[in-house]
């Protein structure tokens, strides 16, 4: 089976390095970036400008789930979310599109953009952070930590609470990404 590093080259490496302690369930919100590039930047990093509210994750007994919430950007510069990580699962940024008369989800080609002084909503039936290859069920009330990675290298940790939810079961069409 072929590993599909071509579609997310930088991330595969980062994923193993940047696992955050699961016990660190800090409330959602901008945190000081930990990376060097961001610390040196003159402008506040994307992670420092973006807050996440109403984050939740779909409870599931399957090996896939998704994280939703609202990303708000307080700065005058757009924030470009390029990846997400979780120590629970493989993570991709997904969108939902029409295909052959049905809705399917697939990885977004270029991440999510949170406009300057604007927001970007992750919701069932729309953009979401996909969790794949979950090792254990997620039950209602669980808290799942996901780290968002922005283009400027800054990182933001969010805690999503698990809710039982019936919708958002779009078929996964990895397209030409190959077998996973």
């Amino acid at each position: 089976m072929r590993k599909t590093n071509t579609t997310f080259p930088a991330r595969a490496a980062a994923a193993s390095a940047a696992l955050l302690s699961a016990g660190l369930l800090a409330a959602c919100g901008g945190e000081a970036p930990e990376t060097d590039q961001a610390a040196e930047a003159a402008e506040p990093s994307a992670a420092a400008s973006v807050t996440v509210t109403d984050a939740w994750v779909k409870a599931t007994e399957e090996d896939m789930s998704a994280v939703f919430g609202v990303l708000e950007n307080a700065s005058g510069t757009e924030a470009h979310l390029v990846a997400a990580e979780s120590d629970l699962a493989m993570t991709e940024l997904h969108e939902v599109v029409e295909s052959d008369g049905s809705t399917v989800m697939r990885e977004v080609p270029d991440g999510f953009t949170v406009p300057a002084e604007g927001s970007h909503e992750l919701a069932p039936g729309g953009d979401h952070i996909m969790l794949m290859g979950l090792g254990a069920p997620i039950v209602a009330g669980d808290e799942v930590t996901v780290t968002l990675e922005f283009e400027d290298g800054s990182e933001l940790e969010l805690t999503a609470v698990a809710k039982d939810f019936e919708g958002g079961d779009e078929e996964y069409r990895p397209g030409d990404m190959g077998d996973m």
Binding site: K58, F68, E72, E121, G141, D142, E143
Partner: protein
Amino acid sequence: MEPKRQRLNRRGLLGAAGGAAALGAVGAGAAALGRGSDETEPAAAPATTVPFHGAHQAGITDDAPSQAVLLALDVNDDVDADRLAAVMRLLSDDAARLTQGEAALADADPELAAEPALLTVTFGFGLDLLDRLGLSVPAGAGPLPAFSVDRLEDAWSGGDLLIQVCGEGDLALSHAIRMLVKDSRSFAGVRWAQRGFRQRPAGGGTPRNVLGQIDGTSNPDPGSADGGEAIWFGPEAGALAGGTVMAVRRMRTGLDRWDRLDAVGKDRVIGRRIADGAPLTGEAEDDPVDLDAREDSGLPVIPTNAHVRRAIEAGETILRRSYNYDDGPGPDGESDTGLVFIAYQADIGQFIAIQEHLAEADLLNDYAVPIGSAVFVLPPGCEEGGWIGQGLFA
């Protein structure tokens, strides 16, 4: 972006007693229910929300709105204290949002959250559950003994987790229950659901129950020191101070039998007049009950076994906030009505003393029979960011 919805007239209109009275759809007369509530509301926009956060949980001392649904859940055996804490956080968050007119997280029908119509959500824990999880049971809480009048049915008794939902909006209630039960499914099943109603008199004042009696006249004033002490756990309860213990008693009323009584007979059962709720020793509803008054014949004016005499002579105070139920006539045309009798008190002993006294002798026993019974520990309220029951898990 999810715009923060406007929160209408919160604390302002919902003072000691105002609350529900202002809801335009229900009563033109804005007089509040209950005691110690002589302030009338200005003709401002009606309040539509009851604050969720505060020292005490909502849904206890605020004016009872017209609808209530009580749910008792049985928590699965494999649920431990950590898991219960996690779901209480979740359920508290649902309640905090829904009662303020905001959709819950993962709300499949967010539009139904927009009009909360005085929605309140109140949580309580059954004693067995607290025991099972090794959580502390406050000194004021304890099980009820069997009372001689009890004809209890399992279908209406017990339960690990109480969710009391009250409000004026049928859809808001239905939606809130749907959300809360959905979020409970993974750790609990529904043991029973009891639906109750009250009808606010158009001119204001104390409502009547299914027996036609004006019911709820003599209740402690939660704002007074004595009243507060009768209702809430004190500082000795530690993290549970500001909580209360709740007795839910489903009481089936025998309306066919009640119908056979004439007006005088009905008055004597309670010791108050059906017509205006005044004690048989007074002229107006608020007149004192004079247990010593005698007829010329020497017999007590308020009969020896009248409900209020027996209740008063028990010497305890409880906060009653009961609802009626009507589950429709059966095939034989006999009605299935009664009270979802609800009492809150600092110590379950207060309730037991009264119920024991009533069981011993009470003319009302011929017309109302307890068929369901449950006791729940209601933790205090929480502040924003906190959740109901937090102190129990510390």
